[in-house]
């Protein structure tokens, strides 16, 4: 209810309502963008552009729609455009051996993190997070929307602009791939 109220105020041009919404969604939106593009600097840029886009398009927002789904759709479109522009290959399936997690994006020298950074990141995200990063963007996004954002399948379908059946198919394939990757990388080990 508070979200609807803030959104209604934002539609009337209330700057404080915008500030409240930024605070409310900052972590979730950034996490989603980071899962999409994988690079913190790029996710931060997209985070800022997304909120500017919200300010520009809030008049076109239909209050009957779910605001969260609308917000994540804006962010998704920006992230997809960005990936298409910067690393078109990252929109496809991983080009390397999925078990090693090598993708077109990770092969780019400019984006290759230092070994120490990789180790820290690995410690931070654990095996599941590390394996998830090796999946293609299509699977990463459906996993993060379902398990991290805890969106309903209908909401995910709205964000991705696909039918419900497609969401289920992607979810199943994403989980299958994630499990396959984990079994290949960490055979016989505890995944968690």
């Amino acid at each position: 209810m508070a979200v609807e109220s803030d959104v209604a105020q934002l539609r009337r041009g209330d700057l404080d309502a915008l500030s409240t919404l930024v605070t409310r969604y900052q972590n979730r939106l950034y996490r989603y963008l980071l899962r999409m593009v994988r690079q913190p600097a790029e996710a931060e840029d997209l985070f800022q552009v997304t909120w500017i886009r919200v300010a520009e398009k809030i008049q076109q927002y239909d209050p009957q729609r779910n605001f969260e789904a609308w917000l994540f759709t804006l962010a998704r479109n920006l992230a997809i455009d960005h990936l298409r522009r910067i690393r078109p290959e990252s929109l496809d399936e991983p080009i390397g051996d999925e078990a090693t997690g090598e993708t077109g994006a990770t092969r780019l020298q400019s984006h290759e993190p230092a070994p120490i950074e990789r180790m820290v990141a690995r410690e931070r995200t654990g095996r599941v997070g590390e394996s998830m990063e090796s999946l293609s963007v299509m699977y990463r996004e459906v996993l993060t929307l379902r398990f991290e954002e805890e969106m309903k399948l209908e909401e995910i379908a709205e964000v991705l602009s696909v039918p419900l059946s497609t969401v289920k198919t992607r979810l199943r394939r994403a989980l299958d791939r994630l499990r396959g990757t984990m079994e290949a990388r960490f055979p016989g080990e505890n995944w968690l």
């Binding site: 930024v22 972590n27 950034y30 985070f47 654990g126 997070g129 989980l175 299958d176 499990r179």
Partner: protein
């Protein structure tokens, strides 16, 4: 497809909480009597649990503040532009009303009220029409120049 195959194909979606009610019941009934499938379900449950417990990365405070400030500036600009457009429309409407109303007054002063019913074109009417058109054209050109200049300044900012 055997019962086991059918059930196993449902396990990943079950861990994601994406099954229909009927499918869920079918699955639970099967798992009660099948240890192999129950173990498989447990593996999927662990994977789902790992996904749910992924740490939430947080944006840097400076990034959030910058995003907030930029979005607020843009929101202000959007609403300012809308307000300006509304005022401009109102002024244009008012100007047209004033112009149209001034014609009969003008004719009354120059040619008498009866001239209203006489649509003859004479030089005063043409002069007045030319004057009005010139003023409107000049006003429109000024508005376009100001708008282009303002947009350029905003882009530079």
């Amino acid at each position: 497809m055997s019962d086991h195959q059918k059930i196993r194909s449902m396990l990943s979606l079950a861990a994601a909480g994406a099954l229909e009610q009927a499918e869920e019941e079918l699955l639970l009934n099967h798992l009660r009597g099948c240890e192999a499938c129950a173990a498989e379900a447990e593996t999927w449950r662990q994977l789902a649990s790992g996904l749910r417990r992924l740490p939430t990365p947080q944006p840097r405070a400076i990034v959030v503040e910058r995003a907030r400030a930029q979005a607020q500036i843009r929101l202000f600009e959007v609403f300012e532009r809308r307000w300006n457009q509304t005022v401009m429309m109102g002024l244009i409407f008012f100007a047209w009303v004033l112009t149209l109303m001034s014609w009969p007054v003008f004719r009354f002063v120059t040619g008498g009220l009866i001239g209203l019913l006489d649509p003859n074109f004479h030089h005063l009417w043409i002069t007045f029409a030319l004057f009005t058109a010139t003023v409107w054209a000049a006003g429109g050109a000024a508005a376009v120049v100001l708008s282009v200049k303002s947009r350029g300044e905003r882009r530079l900012a």
